[in-house]
């Protein structure tokens, strides 16, 4: 028996051409009859297939798979009379196919994705149908940025296809709730098996479906516990109640993870009388170079009176997320969301579902510095060093000072491998076409540590958003905790117009830097936007 339904064998198969005028609405009504209203998320999935030029759907009734068997066994613990469950795998292609032979000739890139629909006939509850899991390939929109997508294998008529994405799943309300399915999307990114099943999550927090069921849901502490057991390091923020001390905007926890290719989770308030919350996984964002927000006062991030800047997430207008109630790959407008604490005691028109109570950002287990800390520490070094750049008439040094004087420097934190930084520098060119000196690149290649580092990119308005270029960056160790003591234990190097800045001892009191000419006096491409191969 295969471990996962997505690669299991099929007991029966139907190939359905779905080009217009075929109606996917009619298909759902015919296939699931009175249960169709439960399948709103499948409507959403099929609408994405339609928008993605879907031409063929293969419907297979699945024989058996270990993940389904596990779930059925757990449902039976809650409802001992439970015996009947069926699962269908719906696979989608953007090529017209009419026969099994035709399916064998489909190219790998014509596979759009799949959805597994599971129907459980639970005594005393009646039949329940839901999307057990689904992965569809990325959106066609060029403003959408999704990083860190896994490759999911899916069997169709005995042939394995692959699709990249973040898995969507819908709760069954019996052995899992919305917290579980949000966790599944996020935990898959870290788990040794590439997927974390609900039984493993429940066992971690003592839910055995006999003495303790999922009726009480999961709490946020348990969610963090499950994610960390999967291999993640979590950084969480509670925005459910007001706080007197330092509290960054909740968006920073989300952006820091997703921009580096790791998922995050938003916990929303609900209208439920019990006061319980709803969770959704977030894994991408939109970026528009024409966004107006960064020029407005409220886009500044103020660490203190002497340290203010524009964070790069100011150009983000939507988070890309799944919502198990409604389906996959939605864009949630950033400015639609408010921290729940801001609404406490106010008569506001913001619906509870837009009130953010809690956020969880994730990174790999070895990462000990989150993006908010990295950005702040990066600002500390960059804003201290850049006014002291050697005076050599470089106009970009002067411009940097001018933008700094009006608090209009832009910072973008990214988690990368130190070696990837060196590769990035080999591919960038400044505006005049000058490259970083090859002898310095060789020194970086042999001397940089093999570990994850934070690269905090430094740019200025318009250069950043429209041209996707920067004037420098600082590299900080990510796998060693950052101390407020400024002990230089995280500082690796900085690069500013024309120069690398390397630490040469002296500690926090008298820090000495060596400025080494880099060969590239002006601005270069942002990480991920390099113009040279």
């Amino acid at each position: 028996m295969e471990q996962y339904a997505r690669i299991s064998t099929a007991a029966s198969r139907e190939i359905i051409p779905i080009a217009r005028p075929y109606s996917l609405f009619d298909f759902l009504r015919k296939k699931f009859g009175p249960l169709e209203p439960l399948l709103e998320p499948l409507h959403r999935i099929l609408s994405q297939v339609r928008a993605g030029n879907g031409q063929t759907m293969v419907v297979e009734e699945l024989a058996a798979a270990e993940d389904l068997r596990q779930e059925n066994e757990d449902i039976a613990k809650c409802f001992p009379g439970f015996t009947t469950s069926r699962a269908y795998r719906l696979s989608f292609f953007c090529k017209p196919v009419f026969t099994l032979r035709g399916l064998r000739g489909v190219a790998a890139d014509q596979f759009i994705g799949y959805a597994i629909v599971k129907q459980d006939d639970v005594p005393s509850r009646g039949p329940v149908v839901r999307v057990y899991e689904s992965v569809l390939r990325g959106s066609r929109h060029r403003h959408n940025y999704v990083r860190g997508q896994q490759q999911w294998a899916c069997a169709v008529a005995g042939r394995l296809f692959k699709v990249a994405g973040y898995m969507y799943a819908q709760q069954n309300g019996v052995t899992n709730v919305c917290a579980h399915v949000a966790l599944r999307t996020a935990a898959a990114r870290f788990h040794k098996d590439g997927d974390m099943l609900y039984r493993e999550m429940n066992q971690l927090v003592g839910i055995d479906h006999v003495a303790r069921t999922v009726a009480d849901g999961l709490d946020t502490k348990q969610m963090v516990q499950i994610l960390e057991a999967s291999g993640a390091r979590c950084f969480a923020g509670d925005y459910s109640k007001p706080t007197a001390g330092t509290r960054p905007p909740f968006q920073k926890f989300l952006y820091g993870s997703i921009e580096s290719g790791y998922p995050a989770i938003i916990v929303f308030a609900t209208t439920d009388a019990s006061g319980s919350y709803h969770a959704v996984p977030v894994y991408g964002h939109t970026f528009s170079e024409d966004t107006w927000v960064p020029d407005a006062d409220f886009s500044y991030f103020k660490i203190g009176t002497g340290t203010q800047y524009i964070p790069s997430e100011s150009w983000l207008s939507m988070f890309i997320a799944h919502d198990d109630n409604w389906g996959s790959n939605f864009c949630i407008p950033r400015h639609y969301l408010s921290p729940q604490s801001a609404l406490v005691g106010t008569s506001t028109s913001v619906p509870p579902t837009a009130a953010v109570a809690y956020v969880i950002g994730t990174f790999p287990r070895q990462v000990k510095v989150n993006s908010i800390v990295a950005e702040a520490v990066g600002a500390d070094y960059l804003f201290t060093i850049h006014p002291q750049l050697p005076t050599d008439g470089n106009p970009w040094s002067q411009r940097l000072r001018e933008y700094a004087n009006t608090n209009r420097l832009i910072l973008r934190p990214l988690l990368v491998e130190a070696g990837d930084y060196q590769k990035h520098l080999t591919r960038v060119r400044d505006w005049d076409g000058s490259a970083i000196r090859t002898d310095l690149l060789a020194a970086l290649r042999t001397s940089l540590p093999s570990e994850k580092v934070w690269m905090i990119e430094l740019s200025v308005p318009n250069l950043f958003s429209a041209n996707k270029r920067k004037v420098g960056e600082v590299l900080l160790r990510a796998e060693v905790s950052a101390s407020p003591k400024r002990d230089f234990s995280n500082f690796l190097l900085a690069r500013l117009p024309g120069y690398f800045a390397l630490y040469d001892g002296g500690g926090a009191v008298n820090p000495k830097y060596q400025f080494i000419p880099s060969g590239a006096p002006s601005h270069v491409e942002l990480y991920g936007c390099e113009e040279h191969p």
Binding site: V177, C178, A179, V214, A215, D216, G217, L218, D219, T220, K221, A236, D238, S240, T243, T246, R247, P248, S276, Y277, A279, I303, G304, G306, T307, A357, Y358, I372, V373, A376, V377, A379, F383, T384, I385, Q388, P390, D439, A443, L444, S447, L448, P449, R477, V480, A482, P484, R486, S489, L502, Y503, D504, G506, N510, P511, Y513, Q514, F515, I516, P517
Partner: protein, 61 residues
Amino acid sequence: MPQVTMSFEQRRKVLLNRMTAHAKGQTVKKVIRFQNDDVPQFLRGLERFEKESRRSRLVVK
């Protein structure tokens, strides 16, 4: 021959030496002190917030 494992500080020093060697005397050395206490204060406050947040137990279902 056993592999020599360098500490981070040693590795950073090696990087400094190699890069300054390539600079052929064109390096500029400066002492640059931090100008304010904004970031250390922010980090202390953030640490408190994150610790308190991890203790929260909001029920999600």
